[in-house]
Symmetry: none
Subunit: 415 residues, 2 copies
């Protein structure tokens, strides 16, 4: 099955928005065995939308669009594409009723705004693609030659949720059994530089089992991506074998696969080991707590923490000796150690973390430059501390600090 | 000047790579007065590249491509596009000499690999676009009707450096003095739904001063973007006037412009009013602290905070009455109020925040469903609390909670 994607919005043509919707759909459909052969973006312009859909239908007869289904004047996807198919727009009162229910469920009174009526206008003969995640329904429009256009909302959360619900089942029907898929697996590593990986990987550096190996460095570490193009069963077997080989080479630097978050890995380890965590954060200002509690169900592991952004609060809430702060400075090994131990003591947890550093852009000195971060982890009374020299801007330095802290917990618990 | 962009590479069609090249060029050219009317991505496939360039030339007669200029077998942009223009590829020995010099300058011995010969093949009659940042030269190809295609390398660093060097000067010549630029301004609003804005905006809903108005909803609120297409001086004047009109309609819902962060606005207000902040966070787990401390220099306003993820820690660190937690539940108005007041008292600040809610996906009940968040803000001893029904997934509910909290501080200080 060949397909084209059309993403709609002035912000795409002005370069204000990265086309993450197109990339997401492309990734999901490739894994399914659908081949995306062209991606196009046009603005909120009826004739440009119509021309792009007409072109795509002429080439592949199959196109998925995102964007322009909202309740405002610049949302013109449905009328523009209905015209290409020669259909009129008709109001769907069932959708209006659903919208009213939604409105009420949010505790609002009266009727939804009149502007929302636009969202229940559906091309004649089209199938409504139910949107359980927002107010804009999707539309599946098909002509008598089997050429079709599926319209999805541009809000990424809604589009991502709808894709497996309303698009994938319809495409599965159209895909033959013999279809080749493009599938990939990602092994996540952290604590090792991209330039140091080839030494570990040896002959796997260029690829594994005939599959290319891509190095994807980010704030989280370096992801290793393998991509297979084969029939579904073959692809999965080749990938599983290749990931196992990579894991053997990378050893303790590997912490997960796919989009697995290190915080999730740490929470899982804590559950197995019956440990609880409390954090003491200075330069990260709550980011470690935020990352841990971003994972659903984290409350059985995370007791809480203190954002000790002032010296006084380090002493008051974490019991750091103020004389030590005066002598060694707030960014120092001793302070990080006392923060970690204090977090354990005050919250009554087995694990405590202390993070104190210079996130920049100002505040660096020759002895304590921007990017110097002291991190200490206390596990069952045993405190280990580590000084990192992290690179990047303020946001990166802060994120990398939380990643180092999480990895220190992971290694301590895995040992 | 109307123009199209074509980005080339299998990774784009597989969705592994976000098309940041296309977005970058679009942004730079729009501000210059060039209008990007369509963006297309195709794979490393000669006939797909040729078809896309042919289509673009028929529509606008002007296209910039990125990608496919490297030394490997999948780099086929030049032969594919040369064929569209009916040109042969001829070796450019000057380029070969430059490549040899580059090779030597890296301290390498012998000749560059034969594969690099591919990079010096240039369509007959084309202009070489010098690449001082890598080995792949760009190409400017133009026919006798003035239709042109500029090819740039796909490596972002090289493409970004070449754009102002070799593309912008050529486009400036074509733009002419009377040329219209595309400039935009964004007014940021929060605390009001996209569907409720038309009522406030009245006749401005569809546009202001003849400029279209785009609604960009996100977790932060709804951004209103105005885009002017006019000569430079006119554009700026029209935009300034239109933003003023929007501000008047939107009133207190407007908190900033451009990419200004609400946390930054709040910090600025606190500095003016000589206020300091402490946070008490339950369901947001440190995210509010993280957002405030993400802004450089925030330590003069932010004293710190407590991540009170357990009931016990709410009492221990923020002084919440445990009897009230038992009676009303942790997610309740009284607890939020006591958290806010406790944050002030314990940290000695003029402003305290308390956030407690059900972020989901589990833990909701009919009385306290997922998305219910109680937020209290204490300013100089005066506590105000507000129950929000927030939508989205766990991450969104948490982010929206911090946005509501920040907005409550902003409104309290602005009053």
């Amino acid at each position: 099955v060949l397909i084209e994607l059309l993403t709609i919005g002035d912000e795409l043509l002005l370069g204000f928005t990265l086309d993450s919707n197109g990339a997401h759909i492309a990734r999901e459909l490739s894994a399914l065995g659908v081949e995306v052969v062209r991606r196009t973006s046009v603005g909120d312009d009826a004739s440009a939308i119509a021309a792009a859909v007409r072109d795509a239908l002429d080439r592949t007869g199959a196109v998925i669009t995102t964007g322009g289904l909202g309740p405002t004047a610049d949302d013109i996807t449905k009328p523009a594409i209905a015209a290409v198919f020669g259909r009129a727009l008709v109001p769907n009162e069932e959708l209006w009723e659903a919208l009213r229910q939604r409105w009420k469920s949010f505790g609002r009174t009266g009727e939804p705004p009149a502007a929302n009526r636009q969202q229940i206008m559906i091309p004649a003969g089209a199938t409504v693609l139910v949107n359980r995640h927002g107010s804009a329904p999707g539309v599946w429009l098909e002509d008598d030659r089997g050429r079709w256009c599926a319209m999805l909302p541009g809000v990424p959360r809604e589009m991502r949720a709808m894709l497996p619900e309303v698009i994938v089942p319809r495409l599965r029907e159209r895909i033959g059994a013999e279809s080749r898929v493009v599938r990939s697996r990602v092994l996540r590593t952290t604590g090792i530089a991209e330039s140091a990986l080839p030494e570990l990987l040896g002959e796997l550096t260029a690829g594994v089992n005939g599959m290319p190996l891509a190095y994807l460095p980010s704030q989280e570490g370096v992801d290793l991506r393998l991509t297979a193009r084969a029939d579904p069963a073959d692809a999965d077997a080749k990938l599983a074998d290749a990931v196992a080989k990579l894991r053997q080479c990378v050893g303790r630097y590997a912490y997960g696969e796919g989009t697995e978050d290190l915080a999730e890995v740490v929470l899982q380890l804590c559950r197995t080991r019956h440990k609880h965590i409390a954090v003491g954060e200075s330069c990260t200002g709550g980011m470690l707590g935020m990352r841990l509690t971003a994972i659903p169900g984290s409350s059985d592991v995370v007791a809480g923490g203190v954002i000790s952004y002032s010296n006084w609060s380090k002493s008051e809430f974490l019991g750091v000796d103020s004389a030590v702060i005066d002598e060694r400075g707030a960014v120092s090994e001793d302070v990080a150690r006392q923060m970690a131990a204090g977090a354990c003591a005050r919250f009554g947890t087995e694990i405590g973390v202390g993070i104190t550093g210079v996130a920049g852009p100002d505040g660096g000195t020759p002895e304590k430059p921007v990017g110097l971060v002291w991190i200490a982890v206390c596990v069952d009374g045993d405190v280990r501390a580590h000084a990192s020299r992290l690179f990047g801007d303020r946001a990166e330095i802060r994120f990398r600090s939380t990643q180092v802290a999480l990895d220190m917990i992971r290694r301590a618990l895995a040992a």
